[in-house]
């Protein structure tokens, strides 16, 4: 469990007594939070912020789901996403093709934003989380766990696979009237990935991961 860490040894006694204290990151209120039962969430009693949760299934459930997400993400990138067929003229794109097309059309800034939010960011989140979960699950002191964990927390909002999925749907409707659309293997993998990744995220809690990391040391 998260504890209070003192920097001066003089304070150690005081600190032990304060152990279950938690400071809300949204309103700064200090509150005592008891150890959570599996499947429960702690909210701040003043502002209602989500403090932390204790999802059921420990590390096994998210690890299994993240391994699935890793495989699906590789498939989604390796196989074609969509093929456009206009009177026999065909053009295919992959997941990375979206940002590549922007790059080719001399929009480097846009290509960077799209590339990061649809390929690099999600790759970091998916591979990084899987790596961290594996290290924590098998109690291995593998390199870079702390760095990856803080990156995962920081880059969370920039992984936009779900938003991209909505973009795919809109683009398909737009193109549907002018040409034939052939969904590729990559698109099926991508669609399943959205659900698996969301399920994995719902069984994960950053605080829990940090606590497990602390136990590892």
């Amino acid at each position: 469990m998260a504890g209070i860490v003192a920097h001066q040894s003089m304070e150690t006694l005081h600190v032990t007594a304060l152990h279950p204290l938690h400071v809300c990151h949204e309103c700064d209120t200090i509150q005592r939070v008891p150890t959570l039962a599996p499947g429960t969430v702690a909210h701040c009693r003043v502002c209602g912020a989500h403090l932390f949760s204790n999802p059921r299934g420990g590390l096994n459930t998210p690890l299994a789901l993240m391994l699935g997400a890793t495989l699906l993400f590789i498939l989604a990138n390796a196989y074609p996403l969509i093929t456009l067929d206009l009177n026999g003229l065909r053009h295919t794109t992959s997941l990375g093709g979206a940002s590549l097309a922007l790059w080719r059309n001399e929009r480097p800034l846009l290509a960077a934003v799209v590339g990061f939010t649809t390929v690099l960011g999600p790759a970091l989140l998916i591979f990084g989380t899987t790596y961290v979960l594996a290290a924590l699950r098998w109690h291995r002191r593998m390199a870079g766990v702390a760095t990856l964990l803080s990156w995962i927390t920081r880059f969370q909002p920039w992984g936009m696979l779900d938003v991209f999925m909505l973009g795919v749907l809109v683009a398909l409707v737009k193109l549907g009237s002018m040409a034939e659309i052939v969904p590729g293997v990559g698109l099926f993998a991508f669609a399943i990935l959205i659900f698996v990744f969301a399920a994995a995220a719902s069984t994960l809690d950053a605080h829990l991961l940090w606590d497990s990391y602390e136990d590892l040391r």
Binding site: H7, D28, I30, V46, L102, A146, L166, K174, S177, A206
Partner: protein, 215 residues
């Protein structure tokens, strides 16, 4: 009544305790000088640095980019020899003309309404903090939370443009290329996301005494 209950609760800043911005560990802040989280190594700060100034700067930049984002075409298409340029709004109108009401609504909400409301919400939050307002703190914190959560969905139009530009590459027959408006629009989304991230919601709760014009 709730206001009194809120005031009675001890706050981290008064007790010298703060949650680590990265891992959430409760850390005791000791003296001056740089202090790092003993668990994850992040720099410990009581509040996000220069929160109000940074958020204002990012918001003003986003508001300025909002104009070209809506005025310039997000893409240019040439279909069977006929050229056309699409702006964000013409994309919404296109779906309305084709009877695709749910999609028109999705694009309108994600691309027009959300960025605008997000700008207004953050401006309101900044002004209320600068006026040292003590009313409706819980609601304002919730407004911040929603602002932070929904911002990324505005990227949907940028992704549509990217996908169309990647797919419709059939030479003279059909061809779509991204416009400068798409870059401007993406920068609005990114700038407002950074603005939301640099705003510190704890500032809403930092002024405990009500200002003279309230109550």
């Amino acid at each position: 009544m709730r206001i009194y209950a809120e005031m009675a609760m001890p706050r981290g800043i008064d007790a010298g305790l703060t949650p680590c911005g990265t891992c959430g560990l409760t850390v005791r802040v000791t003296g001056s000088g740089r202090q790092y989280c003993p668990r994850c190594g992040s720099l410990i700060r009581l509040r996000k640095p220069d929160s109000i100034a940074r958020t204002w700067a990012l918001l003003i930049a986003a508001a300025l980019m909002y104009i070209p984002a809506n005025a310039l075409p997000v893409m240019r298409s040439s279909l069977l020899g006929s050229e056309s340029a699409d702006t964000i709004m013409s994309g919404v109108v296109y779906f309305m003309h084709h009877g695709e009401w749910p999609l028109a609504a999705v694009i309108f909400i994600a691309s027009v309404l959300v960025p605008l409301l997000k700008l207004l919400a953050l401006i309101y939050l900044l002004l209320s903090v600068q006026r040292r307002s003590t009313i409706r703190r819980r609601e304002r914190t919730r407004l911040y939370r929603i602002t932070e959560l929904v911002g990324r969905w505005s990227m949907v139009d940028v992704f549509v443009v990217a996908l169309l530009a990647a797919l419709v590459q059939l030479g003279n027959l059909a061809h779509i290329e991204p416009g400068l408006g798409a870059t401007a629009f993406a920068s609005v989304v990114v700038l407002t996301m950074f603005a939301a991230l640099s705003f510190d919601p704890r500032l809403i709760w930092d002024h405990q005494e009500p200002s003279t014009d309230e109550r």
